[in-house]
């Protein structure tokens, strides 16, 4: 698992509430990524980070924001959750030319 911990592992919340997911890594990797996984869509990139305070959008970034104030933590925030954001969220990290390694995901349900 390349030292990646995602929290919480499961969360149920209501539409309109803010939600923050945390990705913590112990490998000191420079790059971090947030994906969502939905049936029929595979994994889609939400946001990524290429260093502390350096982030950029992925292909499905609307409704999400991220922050990276230190190397080991990458936070994903849903400012006002919607039912369409019900999904499984995966964090990944990468260093140099090595492949991305993934955490075990957060299952988020928005009612």
């Amino acid at each position: 698992d390349a030292g990646i911990t995602q929290s919480p592992r499961h969360k149920v919340t209501e539409t309109g509430t803010p939600v923050t997911l945390r990705c913590h890594q112990t490998e000191n990797h420079r790059y971090m990524y947030w994906y969502r996984q939905d049936p029929g869509h595979g994994l889609r990139l939400i946001h990524y980070s290429y260093g502390v305070k350096d982030t950029d959008k992925g292909e499905v970034s609307d409704g999400y924001s991220v922050s990276r104030s230190k190397t080991e933590d990458f936070l994903l925030t849903l400012e006002s959750a919607t039912s369409s954001q019900t999904s499984v969220y995966f964090c990944a990290t990468r260093q140099g030319d090595q492949p991305q390694h993934f955490g075990d995901g957060t299952r988020l349900s928005i009612l």
Partner: protein
């Protein structure tokens, strides 16, 4: 639009047989390709990767073949075992940010 896709959503094989999982990609500028295995309730696990300057790469019981002429990628698993049952994803990298574009996945079922 551009996409990474898989030819078959489900592949069923007998234990001990070889498995071949196929993947088509559409961006000729992609320079790196990777296969992941995902078991239920887990995150994707790296299997093998290949760069565009190669056409074949072998690992332990796995081989990846890259055909740039027809934009096709395949994963071969030798002597398939029950533990190989999972969803397999191919992904391509199109630029130096490391961002990956994933296919939708193929489910491999191994019959004992």
């Amino acid at each position: 639009g551009e996409s990474v896709g898989l030819h078959l959503p489900t592949l069923s094989v007998q234990e001990g047989d070889n498995s071949i999982i196929n993947c088509a990609y559409s961006n000729s500028a992609s320079d790196y390709f990777i296969w992941y295995k995902q078991e239920s309730g887990k995150g994707p696990q790296f299997i093998i990767d290949i760069r565009s300057n190669m056409d074949k790469r072998q690992g332990q019981r796995v081989t990846v073949l890259l055909n740039k002429t027809v934009k096709h990628l395949s994963l071969q698993i030798a002597a398939t075992q029950p533990g190989d049952s999972a969803v397999y994803f191919c992904a391509e990298k199109r630029d130096n940010t490391g961002k990956l574009i994933f296919g939708q996945g193929t489910t491999l079922q191994v019959k004992p």
